[in-house]
């Protein structure tokens, strides 16, 4: 780290020995001057903040969860199916919240993965330059809509629509939240999958055409399979995003933690529970307050694992070509 890689240093000592202009000064006093060194280390320290952030998140979640797990054993946390911190008879079974998150995530994946992939294929392979210029910013705007606005949309537009179609559907249900979370992650799937398709070498498509393929055969049977790794990575990242989504599920999916697979039910996702506790005036030090750190830890571990897997796939896939 102490010797700079570039620019290449010259034989400054020789130059001074020959009594020429002190070229050594250029290297020692200017290039390696305290100021230059200080700038380098200051910038390095800034870059290190990102590492500290990760450590900070892990430390906060673990340390603050310890008191929670001292009163709630792992066997109850992972064994119970009820989550009732507000009741007199308190139960802390994470499955009740996890199943809510899972239900919403599955619904959103059903919406977003096919639509997102189809958009990616269309934009990458079919759209003319002009159409692409309209569609891509359109999808970017969709990605830029704040989640609280999607939450409003789910509750005041999608839910009444669903209620008209499904008799007896309550105001808060997993279906509406799931669909809108799906809409929210479409741009993510589309843009990452499109990158993957773009990374497929043109020669593969050309070879398919040379063998007599039609366009759709070249796309569906050659290019999409070739981009499979990147497409999978986009799916995993989008699903991980859906798991961490907070405002849509808080506003539209309800606040009743329960173990169910019925999308018409009101449920509570992990993120929605965290918001519910922190927006109320739950006193610090109560078990209910401590529980948000335990739930946060579970959430963090799940999304972290998915991100690591997705980034691995992306990197391995990039090396292929």
């Amino acid at each position: 780290m102490s010797t700079p890689s570039s620019p290449p240093t010259t034989t400054a000592e020789d130059a001074t020995a020959r009594g020429e202009r002190p070229a050594a000064d250029l290297r020692q006093r200017v290039y390696d001057s305290p100021k230059e060194q200080a700038i380098k280390y200051a910038l390095g320290a800034c870059a290190f903040i990102s590492v500290l952030t990760t450590l900070g998140i892990a430390a906060v979640l673990i340390i603050e969860s310890i008191p929670f797990f001292q009163s709630v054993p792992f066997s109850e946390f992972f064994g119970d199916t009820r989550w009732t911190p507000q009741f007199a008879d308190k139960h802390f079974g994470i499955w009740a919240l996890l199943s809510g998150t899972l239900l919403v995530t599955v619904i959103s994946a059903v919406v977003a993965l096919p639509v997102g992939l189809a958009s990616a294929i269309f934009i990458s392979e079919y759209a003319s330059k002009w159409v692409r210029k309209v569609l891509k910013p359109g999808l970017e705007l969709l990605a830029g809509v704040p989640t609280v606005v999607y939450g409003y949309f789910a509750l005041t537009f999608v839910t009444p629509l669903l209620q008209a179609a499904i008799p007896g559907l309550g105001v808060y249900n997993a279906l509406s939240g799931g669909i809108v979370v799906g809409i929210m992650i479409i741009p993510m799937v589309a843009s990452l999958s499109e990158d993957a398709l773009q990374a497929v070498p043109d020669s593969l498509g050309a070879a398919a055409y040379a063998l007599g393929s039609t366009k759709y055969e070249a796309v569906v049977r050659v290019k999409v399979p070739a981009a499979f790794g990147g497409i999978m990575a986009s799916f995993i990242l989008a699903v991980s995003r859906a798991i961490g989504e907070t405002m849509i599920v808080t506003l539209a999916a309800g606040a009743t933690p329960k173990l169910t697979l019925d999308p018409r039910e009101s449920i509570q996702a992990m993120t929605a529970f965290i918001v519910q506790v922190s927006k109320g005036d739950t006193p610090q030090g109560t078990i209910e307050y401590q529980s948000i750190f335990a739930v946060g830890l579970v959430l963090f571990l799940i999304t972290l694992a998915m991100n690591i897997v997705a980034n691995r796939i992306t990197r391995r896939y990039q090396e292929q070509y």
């Binding site: 903040i49 939450g151 409003y152 569906v220 965290i274 922190s278």
Partner: protein, 295 residues
């Protein structure tokens, strides 16, 4: 649909073409779906907001009476947050990216930071809220202040700023750096006088997009204790605050139709702010892409 006896190859070719056409249609419809939803959302929000959106709404403090309620404190709070977040996150983010692109040599430290940033970008925003609550609100004792909120949002968008700045720096041809070095410039002189000015439009695009992400965030602000009812305009960074997304959340969560109308009106204000920012970023990018392509 079945292959015929004469020239089956040709007939099958017709069918294959037809399948392709159908697929293209389906793909097109799927692509349009997102846009249709976006338009529906916007039309719905705008129509609902019309009776509520006026000067009184923009200039009034929140009230329990929907007819008198406004978003002044939320709007000012959001602008404060955006300013403070930019002040904190832009220098840190650009500095980090400069280190990673211009200084760091390939090795475990660089790889650690790169992998770490990629993973941080995927951490749910509510988890950043938990970090902000423990670190800034309680440990640093900053309370439920604008500063706590801005610090939390800064950590949240730091990965976005770093990644986009790195891309902007990478797009500067190395010939520029080498020419400056050849003329005797130090590394910092090369960066400060040549690389940064050339990368500035790209960096700005990334910064604007990151800030527009920050201004729409709700969950982290709820965690750090942004209040739902703030009948005053914040005067300093240590004041308690509310923000537009918080106000929207609060009004949406109420069952009365009047408050839904207020929520819609607040959404229109937020979306105008966001679209302006996004549009600026997109135009900036297109302009400089074209200029570079032309050069």
């Amino acid at each position: 649909m079945e292959p015929s006896s004469n020239g089956s190859f040709n007939l099958r070719r017709m069918r294959r073409k037809r399948v392709g056409l159908i697929l293209a249609g389906v793909l097109f419809l799927a692509t349009i779906f997102g846009i249709v939803v976006l338009v529906t959302l916007l039309v719905d929000v705008v129509l609902t907001s019309v009776p509520w959106l006026d000067g009184q709404f923009l200039g009034s403090l929140p009230s329990r009476n929907p007819g008198e309620a406004g978003i002044q404190s939320a709007l000012v709070g959001s602008l404060w947050l955006m300013g403070l977040t930019a002040l904190i996150s832009v220098p840190l983010g650009v500095a980090s990216a400069l280190y990673l692109e211009e200084y760091a040599q390939d090795g475990w430290f660089l790889r650690l930071i790169q992998v770490n940033i990629a993973n941080l970008a995927g951490v749910p925003s509510v988890v950043y809220g938990i970090l902000g609550l423990a670190l800034f609100v309680r440990f640093a004792a900053l309370g439920n202040s604008l500063l706590s909120g801005a610090l939390t949002l800064s950590l949240l968008i730091l990965p976005i700023i770093i990644i986009s700045t790195q891309e902007a720096l990478r797009s500067i041809p190395s010939g520029i750096r080498e020419s400056a070095y050849a003329l005797g410039a130090t590394r910092w002189q090369v960066i400060y006088s040549h690389v940064l000015p050339m990368a500035a439009p790209g960096i700005m695009t990334g910064v604007i997009l990151a800030l527009s992400r920050a201004i729409g965030e709700t969950a982290p602000l709820i965690l750090v204790g942004a209040l739902t009812f703030v009948p005053f305009v914040p005067q300093g960074a240590l004041d308690q605050f509310t923000a537009l997304p918080i106000q929207i959340f609060n009004w949406t969560a109420r069952p009365q139709d009047e408050f839904r109308g207020l929520a819609a009106a607040a959404i229109v204000v937020l979306m105008i702010l966001l679209f302006t920012m996004n549009l600026t970023a997109i135009l900036l990018r297109n302009y400089f892409e074209e200029r570079r392509a032309g050069a």
